[in-house]
C-alpha cells in the first residue's frame, strides 16, 4: 500500500499560440517530499507552477491535490486548501509596510481576511505573529518601512515571509534566489531550510547550489515533458541531463 | 406584401449603413488613440459637436454647406491641436485617471462655450441643394442625403486605408502601433506620429459633426450621446481595435436601422443590447487581446 500523493498531475497539456509549452505531462509528489524542478529556459517550469496554483487552466489533463480535483478551482481556493507560492518576479503590496504585508497574509490564513466584525488594531495576536515571522525572515527592523522603498534582497525575503505566514502544506517556490548575490543566496538557503521544515516543497531554481541544498528529488523538464527524475546524485550523473541542461562544458 | 417587405428592407439597410458610417467616423479616432497611447479622450466627441456648431456658423454666414464641410473640420482640428499641445501632452505618461479628469474638464469647458456662443436650443442645418430630395428604390423612398453620407464615409475610409496601407507615412503609423521603438529607426519622431494620428481621428469626427447636422440637427447633448455610443464601440470592439470598431459600428447600424423600422419604441436600447451581446460572447470585446 503506497501513500496517495499529495499532488498529482495527469496528462497536462497547455499551449500558447504557436506550440505546446506542456505536452501531456504527468507528475506526482508525495507528502513531505522536497522536489526540485529544473530545465532549460522555456521548458515549461513557470507554466507548470501557474497550473498548480490556478493562475492558468490546462487545455487538457487534471490536477489532483490530496485526491481532490482542483483543475478548475480559482487561485484563492487553492491557497485556502494549503497551496502557497512565491514569485519569480516580485509580487508584493508595494504601498504597504512590511508589517502590513505579513498581516495581510495572516488575516487570510486565519479566515478573518474580509470580516467587518473585528477592528484591525484589536488583533494583538496577529501583530505578535507577524512580528515573529518578520524576525524569522530577518525583517524585524524594517517592519514599518514601505515595501517599495526596501532594497531588492529584503523584498525577496518578504516574498518568502508571506508564504511562511500562509503556513501552507505545499510550498511552491519560483526562483526564490533570482537576482540575489552569492552571500544573499547563502542566507536565503538558511531561511528556506528553517521555514520549509515539515512542508512539502516544489522548488524551481536556476541556481543549482540552492536546488541541491534543498531538494531530495529532482525532476528535469525539457520541451514540456519530463526528461528524467531522480535523486540529486542520479540527475547530476545522467548524461542526457548533462547534455540538454547542465551543458557539456560544465562537466 | 413582398414588395412592402422589400422596401422596408431597403429603407432599413440604408438607415443601417448611414448610422454605421457616422458611428465609425466618430469612434475610430477615439479607439485608435486609446490603442496607441492608452489615452482615453472623453472630450473627443466634444470636438465632434464643436465641428457641428462651427459648420452651422459657416453655412449660415456663407449660405454654403460645402464651404462648411470644407472648413469646419480643419478649424476643429486646429483647436484640437492646441488642446493636445497645451494639455494632453503633459499627461500622456501620467496614467488614465489624470487623463480622464483633464478631458472631463475640457468636455465641460467645450460644452459651456458652445452654449455661450450658440445657445441652448437645437439648431437646424438644411442639406445642400440637390441633396435634399428623395429617390425611390424598390418601392422605398430614400433621402438622397443619407446616400451622400454613406458615400462620403466610404471615400474617407477608403482614402485612410490607402494612406495607412500604401504610403511611407502609413507604414510609420503602423510601426508606431505595433513596435513604437522602430519609429525612431525609420527617421520619425514617435510623438509627431501620435499627434498625427490624434489629429486624423479628430478630423474624421469633425466631418461626422458637420455631415450629421442636416439629419439630426445640432444640440448641446450631442457630445454626450456620441460619447456613450463611442464607448460602446470601443468596449465591444476591443482594446483600441480599428477592425473591432468597424464591426461594432456596423452591428450598431444594423440593429438601429432595422430595429427602428420594426421596433422603433425600443430603438434607444439597441446599442446596449449589442454591447451586452458582444460581452457575453467575448468578455474582452470582439478583438480584445489579454489584459483587462
Amino acid at each position: 500500500m503506497v501513500d496517495a500523493p499529495l499532488l498529482a498531475l495527469h496528462g497536462i497539456s497547455r499551449s500558447f499560440g504557436a506550440g505546446p509549452v506542456l505536452d501531456g505531462l504527468s507528475l506526482s509528489i508525495s507528502a513531505g517530499e522536497r522536489r526540485g524542478l529544473i530545465g532549460p529556459n522555456g521548458a515549461g517550469k513557470t507554466t507548470l507552477i501557474n497550473l498548480i496554483t490556478g493562475k492558468l487552466r490546462p487545455d487538457s489533463g487534471r490536477v489532483l491535490y490530496r485526491g481532490l480535483d482542483i483543475t478548475d478551482l480559482p487561485p484563492h481556493r487553492r491557497a485556502r486548501l494549503g497551496i502557497g507560492r512565491s514569485f519569480q518576479i516580485l509580487s508584493l503590496f508595494g504601498e504597504a509596510s512590511v508589517g502590513e504585508n505579513i498581516r495581510g497574509a495572516l488575516l487570510a490564513k486565519h479566515g478573518i481576511g474580509t470580516t467587518v466584525a473585528r477592528r484591525l488594531s484589536s488583533l494583538e495576536p496577529i501583530f505578535a505573529e507577524s512580528e515573529q515571522i518578520a524576525a524569522l525572515a530577518g525583517l524585524l527592523p524594517f517592519l514599518g518601512e514601505r515595501v517599495d522603498t526596501l532594497p531588492y534582497g529584503l523584498q525577496r525575503r518578504l516574498d518568502i515571509a508571506l508564504v511562511t505566514a500562509q503556513e501552507p502544506e505545499l510550498v511552491i517556490l519560483d526562483e526564490p534566489a533570482a537576482g540575489l548575490s552569492a552571500a544573499e543566496t547563502r542566507d536565503l538557503i538558511d531561511l528556506l531550510e528553517a521555514i520549509i521544515r515539515g512542508c512539502t516543497l516544489i522548488l524551481v531554481e536556476h541556481d543549482m547550489d540552492v536546488v541541491y541544498a534543498l531538494s531530495d528529488r529532482i525532476t528535469v523538464l525539457d520541451y514540456g515533458c519530463v526528461l528524467t527524475e531522480g535523486t540529486p546524485a542520479e540527475v547530476n550523473a545522467d548524461p542526457a541531463v548533462r547534455r540538454v541542461y547542465l551543458g557539456e562544458e560544465t562537466g | 406584401m413582398s414588395h412592402h417587405l422589400a422596401s422596408l428592407m431597403v429603407a432599413g439597410g440604408l438607415d443601417a449603413l448611414t448610422y454605421s458610417s457616422l458611428a465609425f467616423l466618430i469612434a475610430s479616432g477615439l479607439t485608435v488613440v486609446f490603442g496607441m497611447l492608452g489615452f482615453l479622450n472623453v472630450a473627443h466627441t466634444s470636438f465632434y459637436m464643436l465641428a457641428g456648431y462651427i459648420g452651422f456658423s459657416i453655412a449660415s454666414r456663407t449660405g454654403s454647406f460645402w464651404l462648411a464641410l470644407l472648413l469646419a473640420p480643419p478649424v476643429t482640428v486646429a483647436l484640437g491641436l492646441a488642446a493636445e499641445r497645451l494639455l494632453f501632452r503633459r499627461l500622456y505618461a501620467a496614467g488614465h485617471t489624470p487623463q480622464l479628469l483633464l478631458t472631463i474638464g475640457l468636455a465641460y469647458v467645450i460644452a459651456e462655450t458652445t452654449k455661450m456662443i450658440w445657445g441652448d436650443d437645437s439648431l437646424a442645418l438644411a442639406p445642400p441643394t440637390g441633396l435634399g430630395g428623395h429617390v425611390v428604390i424598390l418601392g422605398a423612398t430614400l433621402p438622397v442625403y443619407h446616400l451622400f453620407v454613406i458615400v462620403i464615409t466610404m471615400a474617407l475610409v477608403g482614402l485612410l486605408a490607402l494612406l495607412i496601407g500604401w504610403t511611407r507615412l502609413g507604414m510609420v503609423v503602423r510601426a508606431a502601433a505595433i513596435h513604437p521603438q522602430m519609429v525612431d529607426a525609420l527617421g520619425f519622431k514617435l510623438s509627431a506620429v501620435h499627434t498625427f494620428v490624434f489629429l486624423v481621428g479628430l478630423y474624421l469626427a469633425a466631418v461626422a459633426g458637420v455631415v450629421m447636422a442636416p439629419m439630426l440637427g445640432i444640440y448641446p447633448g450631442m457630445a454626450d450621446d456620441a460619447l456613450v455610443q463611442s464607448f460602446i464601440v470601443v468596449v465591444a470592439g476591443g482594446l483600441g481595435s480599428l477592425p473591432g470598431a468597424f464591426v461594432v459600428a456596423g452591428l450598431l447600424g444594423l440593429v438601429q436601422g432595422f430595429g427602428s423600422v420594426f421596433l422603433s419604441d425600443y430603438a434607444l436600447y439597441f446599442p446596449f443590447v449589442v454591447l451586452a451581446g458582444v460581452l457575453l460572447v467575448r468578455p474582452l470585446g470582439l478583438f480584445g487581446r489579454g489584459g483587462a
Partner: protein, 342 residues
C-alpha cells in the same frame, strides 16, 4: 524564535506612528462631522438649502470615492445608483406614505446596493479605462430606462407630488410640511452614522484592509487566499448603497425626481466634486461638494456661464494639484508639523 514580551520594540514604534496618524485623521473627521451636525445653528437659513444639497451630493461623492480610493477604479456612471434610489424613494413614498421614512430610505438604498452587486459582476472584472467605459455604458443604459419608461419614471417630465402631507419619521412622530431645517437634519441624521460606519469598515477592519490589498496587488492577494472578485464586488455594492442613501434623501429634499438625477452630467459632476475635495482622504469628496456648490453659487451670481469657469478651474486643479484640496491641506499640515523636513 519567539520574541519576549507582548510587543517587540519595532512594532510598538510602528503602532505609535500609526496611532498618531490615526489620531489626526480621527480629529479632522470629528470636526467635519460636528460641522455638518451643527450647521443649522451656524449657517443662516438662506444658505441651509445650498448646504443641504452640498451634504447630499457630498454623500454621493463619498460613495463614488469608495470605489476610486479603495479599489482604484474610476466609475463613470455612479449616478445610476443615486438616480435609481431617488426614483425608488419617490415611488415608495407614493405607494407607502404611512411607512416610516427611514425604512423607505433604507429600502431604496438597499435596492441601489443590490443593483450595484448585480452590475458589478460585469464592471469590476475590468480595470483602468475599461472599467470607466463600462460603467459609463451601464449608467447610460439606466438613464435610457428612466428616459423611456414613462409609465414609471415620468420620462422627461419626471416624478413630483410624491411627498405625503406629513412625513412619518417613526410611528407617532410626523413632520407636517417639513421645513428646510428639518429636511437638513434628516439628511445629516443619515449621513453621519452611515459615513462613519463606512469609514470604520474601510479604514479599520480586515475587510477594508482586504479591499486595499486587492487594489495594490490583486494577483498576490488571490494567492494568499483572498477572493478578490468578491472583495471588489462587495466594495462596489457598498459604494452603490451609499450613493443610494444620498439619492433617496435627494428625492425627499427636492420633492422632485427627474432624469437629471441619473444622467451622465451628474456622473461627471460627482467625479469633479470628489477630485476638487481630494480623493486620498475619505472625507475629501464631502469637502469638494461643498466647495463646488458654494463656488458655483458665487460664480453664478457673477456670470451665467459659471460652468465654464468651473471647468477651467478644474483643469487647472488637475494639472497643478492632482491630489485635490485635501491633498494640498495634508501637504501643508505636514510642512507645518515638521518644518525642518522642508
Amino acid at each position: 524564535m519567539t520574541i519576549p514580551g507582548r510587543l517587540g520594540p519595532a512594532l510598538s514604534v510602528l503602532k505609535a506612528e500609526r496611532g498618531r496618524r490615526d489620531l489626526g485623521g480621527a480629529l479632522a473627521t470629528l470636526a467635519l462631522l460636528a460641522a455638518v451636525a451643527a450647521a443649522p445653528w451656524l449657517v443662516p437659513v438662506a444658505a441651509l438649502n445650498d448646504l443641504g444639497q452640498a451634504v447630499l451630493l457630498g454623500l454621493f461623492a463619498i460613495g463614488f470615492n469608495i470605489v476610486f480610493k479603495y479599489s482604484g477604479l474610476l466609475s463613470f456612471g455612479h449616478a445610476a445608483f443615486f438616480g435609481v434610489a431617488a426614483y425608488a424613494e419617490a415611488l415608495l413614498l407614493r405607494a407607502f406614505p404611512a411607512v416610516p421614512v427611514p425604512l423607505l430610505i433604507l429600502g431604496a438604498a438597499a435596492g441601489a446596493g443590490l443593483l450595484g452587486l448585480l452590475l458589478g459582476h460585469v464592471c469590476v472584472r475590468r480595470t483602468g479605462a475599461y472599467f470607466s467605459m463600462t460603467t459609463l455604458a451601464v449608467g447610460a443604459f439606466l438613464y435610457t430606462i428612466a428616459f423611456k419608461w414613462h409609465a414609471v419614471t415620468g420620462g422627461t417630465d419626471g416624478l413630483d407630488e410624491f411627498m405625503p402631507a406629513a412625513l412619518v419619521l417613526l410611528p407617532g412622530w410626523r413632520l407636517t410640511n417639513p421645513s428646510i431645517t428639518e429636511i437638513y437634519e434628516l439628511s445629516a441624521a443619515f449621513l453621519i452614522p452611515f459615513t462613519l460606519a463606512t469609514w470604520l469598515i474601510l479604514e479599520h477592519t480586515p475587510f477594508g484592509n482586504a479591499v486595499q490589498l486587492v487594489r495594490q496587488n490583486e494577483e498576490r492577494a488571490a494567492f494568499l487566499g483572498y477572493d478578490t472578485h468578491r472583495v471588489k464586488l462587495t466594495n462596489y455594492g457598498l459604494a452603490a448603497f451609499v450613493a443610494g442613501i444620498a439619492g433617496a434623501l435627494w428625492a425627499i429634499s427636492n420633492g422632485f425626481v427627474s432624469t437629471d438625477s441619473i444622467d451622465l452630467t451628474l456622473s461627471t459632476t460627482v467625479i469633479i466634486m470628489a477630485f476638487i475635495g481630494g480623493t486620498a482622504w475619505f472625507w475629501g469628496p464631502l469637502l469638494g461638494s461643498a466647495i463646488y456648490i458654494f463656488g458655483s453659487d458665487r460664480l453664478s451670481a457673477v456670470t451665467q456661464h459659471w460652468q465654464l469657469w468651473m471647468g477651467l478651474a478644474f483643469i487647472a486643479l488637475v494639472l497643478a494639484f492632482p491630489r485635490g484640496i485635501a491633498g494640498l491641506a495634508s501637504l501643508l499640515a505636514s510642512r507645518l508639523v515638521r518644518p525642518r523636513d522642508g
